[in-house]
């Protein structure tokens, strides 16, 4: 593995919050000494912030989704929408039948009451157990990624790994004179 490839591996681990603490501190020291690398890392962190800022809206239980899909399938069967009806009608009816069957099962398990919601995908990643809340630092000359991130990070109070990384990157960039 070349030095560049090794650096990319480390950068990926750092951005993903999967770098061990000691290695992370060393990498942040390297960022502080290398403004170009810090700017690269910061812009990539900004892209990740943009991705994670796309929220899921109000989360609904499995039963709610099943019920909604079932209703839509029924509506399509009854009121059909031209070409679409002929193309997907049979499959939708099958999906509706399955949905109804499993909806009953979900009901029986209390999912539709909201009292026992199924496991949902997590929000912003916090893969490192030792992650600590830290207020994001301000970059002196915000680039696009900082402006994109500002609203997201303020709403999460920098409590995610990405928040910590972003704060560290902002510090590194500032101390390195980049922007």
């Amino acid at each position: 593995m070349s030095a560049d490839e090794r650096l990319d591996q480390e950068l990926a681990e750092y951005l993903a919050g999967e770098m061990p603490e000691e290695q992370r501190r060393a990498f942040e020291g390297r960022l502080a000494a290398d403004p170009a690398l810090a700017a690269e890392a910061r812009s990539l962190a900004g892209a990740l912030v943009a991705l994670r800022s796309l929220d899921e809206g109000e989360r609904e239980g499995a039963g709610d989704i099943v019920a909604a899909v079932t209703a839509r399938a029924h509506e399509t069967r009854v009121y059909g929408r031209g070409r679409e009806r002929g193309r997907i009608g049979p499959a939708l009816r099958m999906a509706a039948a399955i949905a109804i069957a499993f909806g009953a099962g979900l009901l029986a398990r209390g999912m539709m009451s909201g009292s026992a919601r199924p496991a949902l995908p997590p929000g912003p990643v916090a893969t490192r157990p030792d992650a600590r809340p830290e207020a994001p630092a301000r970059a002196e000359a915000p680039g696009w990624e900082t402006r994109l991130a500002r609203g997201y990070l303020s709403s999460t109070a920098g409590s995610s790994d990405l928040g910590r990384s972003f704060a560290a990157l902002a510090r590194a960039t500032r101390s390195g004179g980049g922007g």
């Binding site: 593995m1 490839e5 990319d8 591996q9 950068l11 990926a12 681990e13 951005l15 993903a16 999967e18 403004p35 170009a36 700017a39 690269e40 812009s43 990539l44 900004g46 892209a47 990740l48 943009a50 991705l51 800022s53 796309l54 929220d55 899921e56 809206g57 989360r59 609904e60 499995a62 989704i65 099943v66 909604a68 899909v69 839509r72 399938a73 997907i88 499959a91 939708l92 099958m94 999906a95 399955i98 949905a99 099962g105 979900l106 199924p118 995908p121 997590p122 990643v125 893969t127 000359a141 915000p142 680039g143 696009w144 990624e145 402006r147 994109l148 500002r150 609203g151 997201y152 980049g178």
Partner: protein, 183 residues
């Protein structure tokens, strides 16, 4: 262009609907992140359900969640493209660095624009890059978990991840940039 014919296709012999129903909230969540609107997300959920039935019959994929995530993201990107490019603001209409759109950038129309750009960026990735990135960002999986799911090595997963993030960054910087230090 998205493809849904790669790995983790449904195989015969499993229970068809268990995986789909159990993962429906996740399917909705993935779709909602991309398409933004509840009704559009429900359309995608419906399309994915149909796709599941059409492809699997009475079988289930080897890894239902991975299959559903991939198909959902692909369908969501297609849905957003179909919805159109009502937000087809010229790419050279970028805000100035440090300009007035700063703090409110993730509100309203800006959020829609950002969503369109993210979807376009995801759509331009390779299937593997997109799979790794979405598993990491939307599902919070570790590199080891992603590598196991996709039957690749962790270093390869990291490489795909970084390339994907760079591609998204490059795409976003076209509208939301310029970032002088990157050009």
């Amino acid at each position: 262009m998205t493809h849904e014919s790669a790995q983790h296709e449904p195989r015969r012999g499993g229970a068809a609907s268990g995986g789909l129903l159990a993962e429906m909230p996740s399917v909705y969540g993935w779709a909602r992140r991309i398409v933004g609107r509840h009704d559009d997300a429900m359309d995608v959920v419906q399309e994915v359900a149909v796709r599941w039935i059409e492809r699997a019959g009475d079988a289930s994929p080897e890894n239902p969640r991975a299959w559903l995530r991939r198909v959902t993201i692909n369908r969501s990107i297609d849905a957003l493209r179909r919805r159109g490019v009502r937000a087809a603001q010229p790419m050279n209409d970028a805000p100035e660095a440090g300009g007035s759109r700063g703090a409110g950038l993730l509100e309203g129309d800006d959020r829609d624009l950002l969503r369109m750009d993210v979807a376009a960026a995801l759509g331009a990735l390779s299937e593997m890059q997109r799979a790794v990135l979405v598993a990491k960002v939307f599902d919070g999986m570790t590199f080891d978990e992603v590598a196991r799911e996709l039957a690749i090595g962790p270093p390869t997963a990291k490489t795909h991840y970084l390339r994907a993030v760079r591609a998204v960054r490059d795409r976003l910087s076209r509208r939301w940039g310029p970032e002088g230090s990157l050009s």
